[in-house]
Subunit: 320 residues, 2 copies
């Protein structure tokens, strides 16, 4: 099944305690697409400038990603510059040049119209809604957002939330959106805003999924939350794109399955964590763009090993 | 099997956004003992003053806890006063009156000498070491500590760490003890200080166990960490004693099992989280002192449900 992702395709300059990279192809849609590409077909909608040519396109084409929806506009691509220091929990933005992204009007190519899955990466909620309306036939919609839209574009965001099967955000965003510090109360308030389910990412502490009254399937309705781990990493080289890579692994796995069941949702959360952990291991998209599928499966297995009580027994049963 | 726990038996006055309690029986040894008492025999070593009489003893005796090792000294018992505000991540100490605890010299009653498990709750590492030396025949020693001892009593603490099978501390203590922010690197440094394994508690994000070169059993040596969840709670009534209750559930379960295997260690971490979550649901020891064993098993099952991919399948197999 195909996923359409709409979001930023950008050039990043990032410095962390481990080094620095300049003008590497990045952006939410890029990380998402690369990560999801190991699981399913991915189609990107975005905009780039004249500085984005065949060399940059190769990153996507090398992973079989459809980029017919990436519009080329006169001017420069979106550039972001940031740094991580200390605990590396949050990027400090040093410079943002929206460039062609400032006037972005997402257009869905006709070739994308049969896509069944839509991912609205972190962009202006007005644009997220426009895209959603251009794709009335998709069977599932997931989305992301960030503090900027929560603080200053709440009305538009509220309209998007009603359209979402799954909202994926982090702890800080969940608290800001709900006005509640307690994460259970925050989840209740957010689910009441419309999304059928909610995935809250806790950085190095994994992620928790919460399921609302109108969860993804009445037959498989889950009332309890589900907690997925992350792999404790000794080296966080560059956390940029970890959240988008998480989303790509999560949604890519869902789109690869015939039906969304609670078991599929759980495994998807694990694949999200797996892809997020890879993203942190290198600068930019380096690691996420060059994985082998068996590396992903091996790490999935490690996630299971470090979180499952009956791991030894499960392995015995599988090899018996 | 019997656990001897040495630590504080105190009166607490605690205020949280949910209310206030005054002069309730608390202290690390109390929470630990109550929590562990659902799994195994527990024997307490501590000191109390003249304000601690039959009414206070009933809390322990009601749970079958052996308090022959609680010394009665002239004067008042240890009193602690604290409050939790906002995110309730950390208590603010308003008043500490050590009273009889200031001159505490732990003595192990002869009746306790056949105990196989020793828990050194958070007290002066010099006293922890004295107790350890008084019990040379125990087969397992676990311990806790806190920022005060890490900062100002490092040499004495270093001697205790070499004696420990498991050190149980929280994120902040692990970072302070190791001088490393990254939790994997912190664990490596701490394991090199002596403890055979290390449990780092992450509050609302569960706990991670790390296993050293000399882990608890060469046969069952684990190299990978293990992550245990917590239950997302909508109401944190009073987090006081959650860490000690975690330790009691963890160690109580281990002491109840014939052998320490990786599977037992993992289940023990889950029971730790279970008991820690109960501790947060009421003021003082109210909830931890009045559980039914089936409530513990039900919550253990919820922990499994919210963290295990194959939960539905596991349930099917069990009921088949």
């Amino acid at each position: 099944m195909s996923i359409v992702v709409v979001g930023s395709v950008a050039f990043d300059t990032v410095e962390t305690p481990h080094g620095k990279v300049e003008n590497v192809v990045a952006g939410a849609a890029t990380y998402f697409a690369l990560s999801a590409s190991y699981f399913t077909n991915v189609r990107v909608v975005g905009v780039v400038g004249e500085d984005f040519g065949p060399e940059q396109e190769a990153l996507f084409l090398g992973r079989g990603i459809d980029i017919r929806g990436i519009e080329h506009a006169p001017g420069k691509s979106f550039h972001w510059k940031g740094e991580y220091t200390g605990a590396m929990n949050e990027a400090k933005t040093l410079d943002t040049q929206l460039n062609v992204f400032a006037a972005f009007e997402p257009k869905i190519p006709q070739e994308y119209e049969d896509s069944e899955y839509l991912f609205l990466a972190n962009i202006d909620p007005k644009l997220q809604l426009q895209v959603r309306q251009q794709m009335p036939k998709v069977k599932m919609v997931c989305g992301d957002t960030m503090n900027y839209w929560i603080a200053d574009h709440r009305e538009a965001l509220t309209n998007v939330l009603k359209e979402l099967d799954v909202l994926l955000i982090n702890d800080g965003e969940a608290r800001m959106l709900s006005g509640m510090h307690n994460i259970v109360k925050a989840s209740e308030k957010i689910l009441a805003m419309g999304p059928k389910s909610l995935v809250i990412k806790h950085g190095e502490h994994g992620a928790t999924a919460f399921f609302g009254e109108n969860s993804f399937s009445s037959e498989h309705k889950l009332s309890r939350p589900f907690r997925a781990p992350t792999l404790p990493l000794a080296e966080l080289v560059d956390p940029t794109g970890a959240g988008d890579s998480f989303a790509g692994g999560f949604y890519g796995y869902i789109a690869s399955q015939p039906e969304l069941t609670p078991a599929v949702f759980r495994r998807a959360l694990f694949y999200g964590g797996v892809m997020g952990s890879f993203a942190c291991e290198s600068f930019g998209t380096e690691r996420v763009a060059s994985l082998r599928r068996n590396e992903i499966e091996e790490r999935f297995e490690i996630f299971r090993e470090i979180s499952h009580l009956e791991y030894d027994k499960l392995k015995e049963q599988e090899t018996a």
